[in-house]
């Protein structure tokens, strides 16, 4: 396992400093938490992950997640764990836990080191949030028996992006841009049997997130469709014109299948709290 670079270590510290701020600002009553979500930080056997474990537990990242998800009324228990997986993802299985792998957090760090200095912190925070929401989305589809016609991975991305867009402009801008940067900086090229992967290519995931964002708020995300002379906009016009419909359609289906399980009063409370922001 390669040791963390200085840049990556700095990025990790920034990530955790933002969660520190969020925890201080959140100041939620202890009662506001999701009683059906059981959290666990599994101690890593690889000593390279020990600093990640230490900081996550100190900053109570999963406890904050338990607060954030308080409005979601799950009919049964769901375990959410951080663990050493031997690979970057451990797929969710019915009745099983949602797992965020130390290996993926380390990968986020490594990719962040390639970003411009000013964008590293946003990449780490945004992608981490997306990953936790994406993995939890798989469990939500399963537990709430949400019919998913399209590919599971894209559906989980859509739900994660949708949630990221419901908590104010600051959080939306940070998490969407951070996630988009992560996918854009991916160095994998896709050919042939690579397309058999259940995950969509990173460039597709990049555009899917941008499209959900632009579709949710054309004003806040106007910069996605504007470009300097001679340059192309981040979101091509051909896709941009479809985004409002893509977002509104998703919102309609979210309201049909998931909103019935959301406590509206708790949602108002959670939305009024300050989460991870710049």
């Amino acid at each position: 396992m390669p040791s963390m670079t200085t840049g990556a270590a700095l990025g990790l510290a920034l990530l955790y400093s933002l969660f520190d701020i969020a925890q201080a600002r959140a100041q939620a009553p202890a009662a506001i938490q999701n009683p059906q979500i059981e959290i666990a930080y599994r101690k890593p056997s690889n000593p390279a992950f020990q600093p990640i474990y230490d900081r996550l537990t100190r900053l109570k990242v999963l406890e904050q997640f338990k607060q954030f998800t308080a409005p979601l009324r799950l009919p049964r228990k769901l375990a959410v764990t951080v663990d050493q997986c031997g690979t970057t993802t451990r797929p969710y299985r019915p009745q099983g836990p949602v797992t965020v792998c130390y290996e993926l957090i380390e990968q986020i760090e490594r990719v962040a080191a390639k970003a411009e200095k000013g964008a590293q912190e946003r990449l780490i925070v945004g992608t981490f949030v997306q990953v936790v929401l994406h993995e939890t989305a798989h469990a939500v589809f399963d537990i709430l028996q949400v019919p998913v016609w399209g590919r599971d991975e894209d559906a989980a991305d859509n739900l994660a992006a949708f949630i990221m867009l419901q908590f104010g402009d600051d959080l939306a801008l940070q998490t969407i841009q951070g996630t988009a940067s992560f996918f854009l900086l991916s160095e994998k090229t896709w050919t042939g049997s690579d397309f058999a992967d259940v995950r969509s290519p990173d460039p597709q995931r990049y555009f899917n997130h941008l499209c959900m964002a632009y579709g949710s708020d054309k004003t806040t995300f106007e910069f996605l469709v504007k470009a300097d002379e001679g340059k192309e906009p981040m979101l091509p016009k051909r896709r941009a014109v479809r985004c409002a419909r893509e977002y509104e359609t998703f919102r309609k289906f979210f309201n049909m299948r998931i909103m019935p399980y959301v406590d509206p009063d708790l949602l108002t409370t959670v939305r009024s709290m300050q989460w991870v922001t710049r």
């Binding site: 019919p147 859509n158 042939g192 049997s193 058999a196 896709r239 359609t249 289906f253």
Partner: protein
């Protein structure tokens, strides 16, 4: 594009008001005749203006593809009318659904036939199945968009993939002959189109709302293989024997098939007339000669076909 939200809301309000009136009416008024249903499929073969499309127009009319489609769709109780037209599209190679209408361009049919005629088939894949399978899948793919819209079906995930999944799931319910011809035919087209790309994709290429042809190829293989696993059939065992479907994907296929099956049972089946469906499933829809009159006279090219695997980029 879908019907506007306002129009849908208005129609819902009108029908709700109507049902309320019916509930509240005194017995004499309740015996008034019910209004005529506006459901039903309207078909149209539009005369081509481009002489190059005349042969396609004549062939499809003679085969009565749209009449057959209408009958095939008869068990599905749609709330609103659907029209389907085969027509010339001024050079546009496409088929699409919008606001209650499916448009299928002759240009699309021509491209399918051209691409298939030039492609190397995989072992066990036939050119005539590609002609038929691709045409049918695209028609049912657009029908899926129509169904999602007209029945207000929730779709999580990319709608284009969902439309592929519903179309292919339906084609897997009509016995092994139809399943084999249409699923291998569909996969054949996606593979041929992927190989015909023959250039490095740019970032912008990935911004399309569709998956890549390569993705759609593997999705079709996986759903087909998944149907074998769930239904206990062996229609697509060659996908494994010939290593067309990578090992890393195979383990997902039964689950992928089951997901589509469960979604169909919960969201579409309630709108299906079961007696009509049984009749439709007992009908022979494809003829052995379908697709054969278009094959190049010399037959398929020689040479050992290669599965779609990681290939070196052009220099």
């Amino acid at each position: 594009m879908k019907r506007s939200i306002q129009a849908v809301a208005l129609m819902a309000a009108v029908s709700l008001a109507a049902s309320w009136v019916a509930f509240r009416c005194p017995p004499a008024m309740a015996q008034m005749p019910k209004p005529q249903s506006v459901t039903g499929i309207v078909i149209n073969y539009v005369e081509p203006t481009d002489p190059a499309h005349r042969a396609i127009y004549d062939r499809l009319r003679k085969r009565q593809v749209l009449e057959q489609y209408k009958e095939f769709m008869s068990p599905l109780q749609l709330k609103r009318a659907l029209s389907v037209a085969l027509q010339g599209c001024d050079g546009q190679v496409n088929a699409w659904y919008s606001n209650g209408k499916i448009t299928y361009c002759y240009e699309m049919v021509a491209v399918i036939e051209n691409v298939v005629a030039k492609a190397n088939p995989l072992p066990g894949f036939k050119l005539e199945d590609a002609i038929v399978g691709a045409f049918v899948q695209i028609l049912l793919h657009e029908t899926s968009h129509a169904v999602f819209d007209l029945l207000d079906v929730p779709v999580f995930g990319r709608e284009e993939d969902a439309a592929d999944a519903l179309a292919e799931f339906v084609l897997l319910q009509f016995g092994d002959k139809v399943a084999r011809r249409t699923l291998t035919g569909t996969a054949f087209l996606w593979r041929a189109l992927e190989l015909a790309e023959n250039r490095n994709r740019t970032l912008e290429d990935y911004s399309d709302e569709h998956g890549t042809h390569g993705q759609r190829f593997y999705n079709a293989l996986c759903l087909a293989y998944g149907s074998d696993l769930v239904q206990g059939t062996k229609t697509f065992s060659d996908f494994i024997e010939n290593n067309l479907l990578p090992e890393s994907r195979r383990g997902q296929c039964a689950k992928e098939y089951r997901h589509v099956q469960i979604s169909f049972e919960r969201l579409i089946l309630p709108h299906v007339d079961k007696a009509l469906m049984a009749k439709v499933r007992a009908t022979e829809w494809l003829k052995p000669e379908d697709g054969t009159d278009l094959l190049p006279p010399s037959g398929p090219p020689d040479g050992l076909p290669k599965p779609l695997s990681s290939r070196p980029r052009p220099g």
